[in-house]
């Protein structure tokens, strides 16, 4: 009898916990739900008093406005989308190869000085990237890269976090696996692609996601390294849209733009979530 009672209490507590967590999820999701609902609001609903949370007559008008209204300025909105996709995509691809190769060396070759290099990388994890922005800007302008895609891509490739993540994962791959490939006569280059990269699919999937999300949302480097309207990336374009004249008239387009910027990272994360969770186990700092 008492056993049963205890069970009921436990079950009740559990139910309470679920209810609490679901309420919390609802609360944290509010701004996102609001963002989605606003993007589909027709013009008259945007300025209702009292303001409404949910859309009543959903319309795609704001999205058309976004794509056409910005036509009056020199650059079509699709250009910003292309810039963002191109820049983030290039960074992710280049960073993946460069950082994985580097991590492979630091983890498995260990040439003289490897531990020193790793210590430097580890300390690079410990400061905000904005700290180096001024000299980076000077280097970029000295190389004549201001207002080019190179300025947005090159400085973002060799990221301490990426090589750190990959090295932690490669460390878990047993050396015997590589030895075996050696005995089979495989070259180091082949081992890297056919053994290391094949085994660490979850790790580089993680790198792709983190790198994509970070660079997709980055607005600091576009702000600093570009001055021309044609080079702006999406987040920066949205901010200009928000700050420029005629904000009220554009608030529908703004909401639609916000939704457009926010959607790709969410979709990418959802696609790869299971893989991410498998990798992060290895990413702690061992002291």
């Amino acid at each position: 009898m008492t056993m049963n009672y205890g069970k009921w209490v436990a079950r009740f507590n559990r139910g309470l916990l679920y209810a609490f967590m679901i309420a919390l999820v609802g609360f944290t999701a509010l701004p996102i739900i609001y963002m989605v609902s606003t993007a589909f609001k027709p013009l008259n609903e945007l300025f209702l008093y009292p303001p409404t949370f949910f859309v009543r007559k959903p319309t795609l008008r704001s999205f058309f406005d976004l794509l056409t209204a910005t036509d009056s300025s020199v650059v079509p909105f699709t250009r910003y989308i292309f810039n963002s996709v191109f820049v983030s995509g290039s960074i992710v691809a280049a960073s993946l190869i460069v950082c994985c190769l580097g991590a492979f060396v630091l983890s498995k070759f260990k040439p003289p000085g490897a531990s020193f290099i790793f210590a430097v990388i580890l300390s690079a994890l410990m400061f905000a990237p904005q700290v180096t922005q001024i000299p980076t800007y000077m280097i970029v302008s000295k190389l004549g890269l201001v207002n080019t895609y190179w300025a947005l891509i090159l400085p973002k490739i060799a990221v301490a976090f990426n090589i750190f993540l990959m090295k932690q994962f490669f460390d878990q791959i047993p050396d015997a696996l590589i030895e075996a490939a050696h005995i089979d006569g495989a070259s180091e280059w082949k081992i890297f692609w056919k053994v290391i990269m094949a085994v660490s699919k979850p790790a580089w999937a993680t790198l792709i996601i983190f790198s994509f999300i970070g660079n997709w949302n980055d607005y600091f480097s576009a702000l600093v390294f570009t001055t021309s309207e044609t080079m702006k990336t999406l987040p920066l374009a949205i901010q200009t849209l928000a700050g420029g004249p005629g904000v009220v008239a554009r608030s529908g387009a703004l909401a639609a733009g916000t939704l457009l910027v926010t959607l790709p990272p969410i979709l990418i994360f959802m696609l790869f979530q299971r893989l991410v969770m498998n990798t992060m186990v290895h990413s702690g700092i061992k002291s």
């Binding site: 679920y18 190769l101 492979f104 070759f109 990237p129 904005q130 700290v131 922005q133 015997a176 702690g284």
Partner: protein, 318 residues
């Protein structure tokens, strides 16, 4: 799968080693060369865009430099102006510390507790997605939503709700009243803070094998909180350390949310952070030497704090 097969016969590999030692010495040189070759793309880019900038920052911080004329050595004067005369900088330090001291530990603990609770629930994936999504949304883009929610007039969502529930009689100027700006920035940052650290904690928790809890139960651990303290936390030290370093850097690097909410310059500099100050001098006034001294200060601040946290978390173990 493949690797487990290979681990089972490491004997053969080690047995072969002494015989091939002489051959391996020359091979080692070749291997190192190849290693540097593979490492070189990373090293070159890392040196050009991370190491050199850090060193150059330190050098520039002792000069007056405006990009048009060559840098002029001024010794420590940037630093003395920074700490003794620049009231706005002192204000930005104060703001950043208030933010870091409140938002840093709070988001850190919150991420861990949420990860811990979620780990015991069903539909882990769904719950973690729900809490993680805010952190991957663009702070800048979503600021439009926040500005609407915290708008200072009656049309603002929060004001509107509070007015209709009778909690306030007049709309509150959330983003323009200097006393309210920091709290709003902190709330928005907390909402966005279930990010990388949170995911690392989740993964670390999944790594703790259930047998350890069973063993713990036999050893007399009776409550979930004892389990957390005596089994889970010690096992998650690497993840906890990573999360701590991550949240320190994030907390002291606060910038875009502050600008998005309070604008730049913010009313009475209430939302002015160290990075805002750096940005102001570097890319608006082009006083790059002075801005570099701010960067160097921030660098040593986060670096020192990171070291302290590392020491604290690793010494606890012994």
């Amino acid at each position: 799968m493949e690797s487990s097969v290979e681990i089972s016969n490491p004997l053969r590999v080690t047995a072969e080693k002494p015989k091939r030692l002489k051959l391996k010495l020359t091979q080692a040189g070749k291997k190192a060369a190849l290693g540097y070759l593979f490492l070189s793309p990373f090293l070159i880019l890392f040196i050009v865009f991370t190491v050199v900038p850090v060193i150059q920052s330190v050098y520039l911080s002792f000069t007056y430099y405006n990009m048009l004329q060559p840098a002029k050595w001024v010794g420590l004067s940037n630093y003395s102006v920074l700490f003794l005369e620049d009231d706005t900088f002192i204000k930005s330090i104060k703001n950043t510390f208030v933010f870091a001291v409140i938002a840093g530990p709070l988001s850190y603990c919150l991420s861990f507790m949420l990860a811990w609770v979620i780990n015991s629930l069903r539909a882990k994936m769904l719950f973690s997605l729900a809490f993680y999504v805010p952190s991957i949304t663009s702070g800048i883009a979503l600021s439009i939503v926040w500005l609407y929610i915290f708008s200072g007039d009656r049309y603002g969502l929060l004001n509107n709700w509070m007015l209709s529930w009778g909690m306030i009689s007049e709309p509150i100027l959330w983003t323009t009243d200097p006393d309210r700006i920091m709290p709003v920035i902190i709330i928005v940052s907390l909402w966005m803070s279930m990010g990388t650290g949170f995911l690392v904690f989740l993964a670390g928790l999944q790594n703790v094998s259930p047998e350890l809890y069973e063993a713990g139960a036999i050893d007399g651990i009776s409550s979930r909180f004892q389990e957390l303290w005596y089994i889970t936390v010690p096992l998650m030290k690497p993840q906890l350390l990573f999360g701590a370093v991550n949240s320190i850097v994030a907390a002291f690097g606060v910038f875009d949310i502050a600008v998005a909410i309070a604008g730049m310059p913010s009313p009475n500099y209430a939302g002015h952070t160290i990075i805002s100050h750096l940005f102001d001098y570097a890319f608006i006034r082009f006083e790059l030497g002075y801005a570099s001294s701010i960067a160097v200060f921030l660098f040593f601040l986060t670096f020192g704090l990171g070291r302290i946290v590392m020491k604290l978390l690793s010494s606890k173990e012994q």
